[in-house]
Symmetry: C2
Subunit: 369 residues, 2 copies
C-alpha cells in the first residue's frame, strides 16, 4: 500500500472513527484502525464490536492495499504531522507502516490485517431517512437521561418510536425520563427500536445538521446503521420491552411553577454546591406564593439557601430532587421560561418548555423528612 | 465577627492563599483558612506548615473577630457568589459562618479558631529587596529543573546565591542543572539559601512584576519570607551543601550546534511522541555537516525520525538525551537561536541562549548502544 492525502483529512477521519477503537480490547486487533487504499480514496474503519465506524477520504493511490495499525498511535501521529500532505506506505517485509510529512517520518509496527474484524452490516429489513437536524435534536433532548450501569441493558439506550410522521425518542434511568417528540414530512410507517446511547452520542457528535442533510437508517431485528455525509456507523440494537412511558406523565397538577430557565439553573448550580457533596444529591424546593426557595444541607459542611422569583399557581408545597437530574434537564430547555408541574411531594414532577409540549421531562422526587 | 467586602477581592484573596491550604492534613485545622476582621481590613491566612501565605483586603467591619473555615468550601462558595458585595458573619452559638450575597446564603460549620496555627515569622537576621521582575525571571528559568522526589530534600529547592550585585539561581535534579544569573543595582553582600520550589512557584504565580515592584526577603538560618503587594509568603529553608555548580559546566566543546529554538522544540515534540512511551524517554541526536537528525525508537510501537537544519561546527557526533529534559529547557529559552555545545557522547551538554551567558543549562546524556 502507498498513498498520499491531506494531513487535515487524515486527522479528521481518524478522529471520526476514534471512539470505535477499543481501549481495553479482549483481542489486540480491536485496538487497531483499518486503512484500505483503492482508486482515489482511503477507507478508514474502526470496530470494537459494540460500535463500528467507517469513513472515507480522497487520496492518491500509488499502490492499493489494506493495513491495520494501532488506533491510538495513528491518532497521535496524525496530530503531530507538520506538513499539509502526508504519505502513508507499507513495508510488507518489515510489517511496518510509514507516515511521512515534510521532514518528519513515523514508522509503526502493523497489526495482522488478516485478523481484522470488518463491520458486519445489518441484513436490512427496514430503511428510512430522517433530517439530521431532527435526529440530532431528538438525541440532545433525551440521551443524557439514559442509565450508565449495565444491570438493565435496555436503559443504556434510547427508545426511537416511529408512528406515521411522528417521531418520539425516550431516555430513562427509571428515576427520570426524558421524552422528545418531532414530526417529519413523510409517513414512515410504524416501528420502534432501542438504540445504545453511545452510538447516538457518536451520531450527534459527527452528523452535520446544517442545510437539508439527512441521516439514512437501516435496521434488521438485531442491528441498526446510520449513514450521513461520509460516515457510516453501525451498532447492535438493545432488546427488551420499554416501559409504557406515556403512563408516567402525571395527569393533573396541584402546583404549577413558571420560572426563568437560566435563573433557576444558576440558582440550582449555586445551592447544589452543598448537595453535590452528599450521598443523595438532594436539593429542596419550598414553594409558596412568594416564589421558589431552594436549599440543601450537609451535616459535614453546612447549608445553602436561595430564593428566586417565580409565578406560582396552586398549593404551597415542599419537595426534594436529585440536583443533577434537574440540572441536566434545564440545560436542554431552549425556552426562556420553563414550567414545572407538581402533583404532590412524593409524586413525579413534570418539567416542560413554556407553551410547548414536544419536550417532557418527568422526575421522581426524593423522599425526605 | 461581621464584615462586608467585594466578592471579587474575597475570591482573589482566597485563591491567593489556596495553595497553602493542606489537602490531606495531619490535623483538620490545617485544611482551614483563617479570617480576621479588624478596622477596615480582612486578613486571610492559610498555613500547611510547609508554606504559609497571608493577604489582606479592604472590608467594612461591623463586628471585629476571627474565624477558621474549610479552605476548600470557602473557595468553592466564593466562586459561586452571585452579587458584587458579600457579607461574612459568624454565629457564635451555632459555630456557623455565613456568606450572603444577593439572594444566595451559604452557611459553613466553623473550625475551632483556638487551634489555628499562625504563620511563624522568621527571627530576621538578613533583609533585602529584589525587583519582582528579576526574581520571577530567576525562578522561571530554573525551578522546573528541581527534583520532585524527597529522597534528597535539598534538590527539591533552588539555590539562591547572592554575591554583591550578582544574583544566581540554580535548580537541579542531579541529571540536569539550570543556572540563571541576574544583576541588580545594589550591593547586597554575600549569602546563599536553598528555597523550596513550591514556595518559589507560588511567588512566581502571585507577584506582580510590572513597573518597579519589589519583593522584600527576610531570612533566619531556618526560615525565609517574601513580602510583595498585599501578599506575605513564608517557608522553611532547605539545608545541605549544594554541589559546586560552576564545576559541572564543560570547559571545551568538540561540536557546537546553532539552531532555531522553536524549530528544535517542535521537532523534539514530534519525535518525542515515541520516546514518551518508553522507559528512558530517549531521543537520539545524530549531528553531521548536514544538520541535526533526531530519532526515537520503541520496540512496541515503532520509531520516529526528523532532520532539521542547523549550523554545525566541529566533529560529527551521536548523542542521546531524556526528551523531557530538553523540552523543559527549550521552553524557557527566550532567543530565536539557541546554542548547544557538546564535549563527547557521554559528557554533559551545555545549552544556552545565542550570544548570552546568563542562562546555562547542563544536561547529562543517556548512554545508548
Amino acid at each position: 500500500m502507498k498513498i498520499t492525502c491531506t494531513t487535515r483529512e487524515l486527522l479528521e477521519a481518524v478522529n471520526t472513527v476514534s471512539k470505535a477503537v477499543a481501549v481495553k480490547p479482549p483481542a489486540p486487533i480491536l485496538s487497531g484502525i483499518f486503512l484500505k487504499a483503492e482508486g482515489s480514496s482511503l477507507e478508514i474503519e474502526a470496530n470494537n464490536l459494540d460500535i463500528g465506524i467507517r469513513t472515507k477520504i480522497s487520496a492518491n493511490t500509488e499502490v492499493p492495499g489494506s493495513i491495520v495499525v494501532s488506533g491510538k498511535y495513528l491518532q497521535e501521529m496524525a496530530r503531530k504531522l507538520s506538513g499539509d500532505i502526508v504519505s502513508i506506505s507499507y513495508d510488507d517485509e518489515a510489517k511496518v507502516a510509514r507516515l511521512q510529512s515534510e521532514s518528519i517520518s513515523f514508522k509503526m509496527l502493523a497489526l495482522n490485517v488478516e485478523e481484522w474484524v470488518h463491520i458486519k452490516e445489518p441484513e436490512v429489513e427496514v430503511s428510512f431517512a430522517l433530517p439530521a437536524v431532527t435526529f440530532k435534536n431528538l438525541i440532545r433532548k433525551t440521551v443524557y437521561a439514559c442509565a450508565h450501569d449495565e444491570s438493565r441493558p435496555m436503559f443504556t439506550g434510547c427508545l426511537l418510536q416511529i408512528d406515521g410522521n411522528k417521531i418520539t425518542m425516550v431516555g430513562t434511568n427509571t428515576h427520570r425520563i426524558a421524552i422528545m417528540h418531532e414530526t417529519v414530512a413523510d409517513n414512515l410507517g410504524e416501528m420502534s427500536y432501542i438504540i445504545p446511547s453511545k452510538a447516538l452520542g457518536e451520531l450527534a457528535r459527527l452528523a452535520d445538521d446544517s442545510g437539508d442533510n439527512n441521516v439514512t437508517i437501516r435496521c434488521s431485528s438485531k442491528d441498526i446503521d446510520f449513514t450521513f455525509d461520509n460516515v457510516y456507523i453501525k451498532t447492535r440494537l438493545l432488546s427488551g420491552d420499554f416501559p409504557p412511558f406515556e403512563k408516567v406523565i402525571p395527569k393533573e397538577a396541584i402546583t404549577t411553577v413558571r420560572v426563568d430557565t437560566m435563573d433557576l439553573l444558576a440558582a440550582i448550580d449555586r445551592v447544589g454546591l452543598i448537595s453535590r457533596e452528599t450521598d443523595y444529591k438532594t436539593i429542596r424546593f419550598a414553594i409558596d406564593k412568594e416564589g421558589l426557595h431552594l436549599s440543601s444541607t450537609s451535616p459535614d459542611i453546612g447549608n445553602a439557601e436561595e430564593s428566586i422569583m417565580a409565578a406560582i399557581e396552586g398549593e404551597d408545597i415542599d419537595i426534594a430532587f436529585n440536583v443533577n437530574y434537574l440540572i441536566e434537564a434545564l440545560k436542554v430547555i431552549d425556552t426562556k421560561i420553563c414550567v414545572i408541574k407538581l402533583s404532590g411531594r412524593l409524586k413525579p414532577a413534570d418539567i416542560r418548555e413554556a407553551d410547548r409540549d414536544d419536550f417532557i421531562y418527568i422526575v421522581t422526587p426524593i423522599r425526605t423528612n
